[in-house]
Homo-oligomer: 211 residues x 4
């Protein structure tokens, strides 16, 4: 792998990991078995709403990060050993996400709520740092990008990603105030990263331009 | 992703998610461990038949929805940001299906049977709505279809899908009468969606036409 | 899907399902937690050898069936709706295999040993029938094969597969005599199916012929 | 499969298995539920650090082995029946890894620590042997390599892999002295195998040569 290779199999492996990690999230949702005195299943289902909220936020985050990974590899056209290791580092965090999700779901109504939410945001912050490392290594002096890479798009991604760790640091801070607010902010951030960097400038125009 | 891209990697990721979700269904089937007085394993296995029925119905539904997803992407040839998000929304529901399946399997012999079956049908109804959203977005004025898409086939899919949410609403209603009847109807609906829209008109003819 | 399509995405989805099902087998192997008085971990690990044997047999069976699936699709070049449904049926059995495996591992030292082993063999027998259905549908009058399919190879597969259900019926019978013997026979059968039909005639020659 | 075939689908299936096995590792990390008297979640999380260490080492090992698998198949260009079986054998070990990982995590603070660590290293040793078998079968007299395979690179891989089983034998020995030291050495070995054989000679040079 010390010669740049095409990135097809990295993408296939990463797709597999993203797909498994995102699907394993459902294992955190347990069938409510000991029913309360009024024995109403629907009410029991509603009562565990924070489990669904954490499921949704983690799903959105992993899903959007998959879109971002996809987006990076439309520009990254070659691979080397360092890229493979940085890619593995990113996948390590992605794979880990079901754990803080389970933790948050279990402790959201507990005095430990703040610690669980801070841990959750902390993991996302590390994930954002890994995305920056991967992208900066690949895009530095066009190292692994297509030779004719759109410099405008490359720059836009770099700028957008720079804010990632800072924004997740903010949600980390909010965790010490309110757990649910922290989750809600993390959901919003996922939406922010769903927007391609370019679109942040000229939002909405691009959508139909190739139609 | 604000430029239309080819859909190869969306399909690969979706295939992965469908494959994992459908396979995780087996984790809901538990080895019957505390054997009854007559200590007969086969009888214990038979006694949990609703677990197998729910497994089968969810398997058929996810499997057929994968065939449908496949079918849509023989027409959808380009991708944009909105399509990716709508696709993620659909996958969110697919991933969630093992949960209502487990719920139904556990409560089918319980007074809460009706609520569990209604929840199960409700999730399928939302899934059918997501399929409509995805397809209508992609096919509206041929937005993301192949330029030479077969307008007859496109129309046939649109017409067939329109009935999806309504039909699942019927099974939702039946849930309040009988749990097993509701599961059986959901199985029938999976078979309905296995038939391509075109075939609903001129059934059976098409099968060998390219042979 | 009523027009024959290429089989790429069926293969990709099937590969995903095989890969997940084969990997989930490991979840059946539990860490031996309550250590016996002599508190020796290695001995505890040895004591659960039937769990490893069942794991190995199921691994070999799913793995070899993947090779066979692969082999069929080197001949099957087109797809239609019926093929997709038959393929799903086969995947249903593959996905189900972790359940009889867990059952067998748990009951191998129990008086219910015979019933568990018979259930295990029964599932494999159904799997062999599904393989026959898929292959016979696809190969009947060359329906979905490559137009220039090697008729000799096609015939060899048909002949080999014909014996599958019968052979698994034998292991089903053996289950009522001895559980471990039944598992061992199933392992042998996996090896039998690892050999391509052609090689059964002129075994060993073919291996280097293209070198 | 007795004719050499291209290796695309073996790689796809292997990628799937690697991806699922690496992601299942997270299921070993349990939410710490019974909190100690001081009821501090962060402290409870820290207390289970060996679980994270074992998770990290197994992740690194599977991830790096995936890179190595990838690297081998840049040279292996054809497939035959024996290769498929050897590849399955390798996947058997990869799939099994979550089990010794869980074992090690649970027994690291126990008098059985040495046995658990030795078992862990032993599995890695068998994995290294399987890699040698696969590579030696494929590369022997260029059997399944590209006809124009870079003989220098082929030789470098052969030499590097030869040391694998021996090095894991060393970590097996260290297990009887200290469990944590054994895990740390296994992590180092993963890093060793991350370096391509060629780079071990002229380290660092190759990285930018194609830029």
């Amino acid at each position: 792998m010390d010669d740049p290779k095409e990135t097809g199999r990295i993408e296939a492996f990463s797709d597999g990991v993203f797909a498994v990690a995102i699907t394993l999230l459902v294992l955190n949702i347990q069938v409510p078995s000991p029913l309360p005195p009024d024995n109403n299943l629907i009410r029991s289902l509603f009562r565990q709403w924070p489990v669904y909220l954490a499921f949704l936020t983690s799903f959105a985050t992993i899903g959007i990060m998959w879109i971002n990974h996809h987006r990076l590899y439309t520009h990254i056209k070659r691979s080397d050993n360092t890229l493979m290791v940085l890619n593995l580092l990113l996948l390590l965090i992605i794979i880990f996400i079901p754990f803080p999700t389970a933790l948050l779901a279990q402790y959201i109504f507990d005095p430990n709520e703040h610690q669980a939410a801070a841990f959750y945001s902390g993991v996302f912050c590390v994930m954002a740092i890994c995305f920056n490392l991967l992208w900066r290594y690949a895009s530095h002096e066009n190292r692994l990008l297509a030779r004719d890479a759109d410099q405008h798009a490359v720059k836009a991604i770099t700028n957008q990603y720079m804010f990632g760790p800072l924004l997740y640091l903010v949600t980390f801070g909010v965790a010490w105030i309110s757990g649910p607010a922290c989750i809600a902010l993390n959901l919003l951030l996922a939406v922010f990263f769903a927007l391609p960097g370019k679109q942040l400038a000229k939002q909405g125009e691009g959508e139909n331009e190739a139609a």
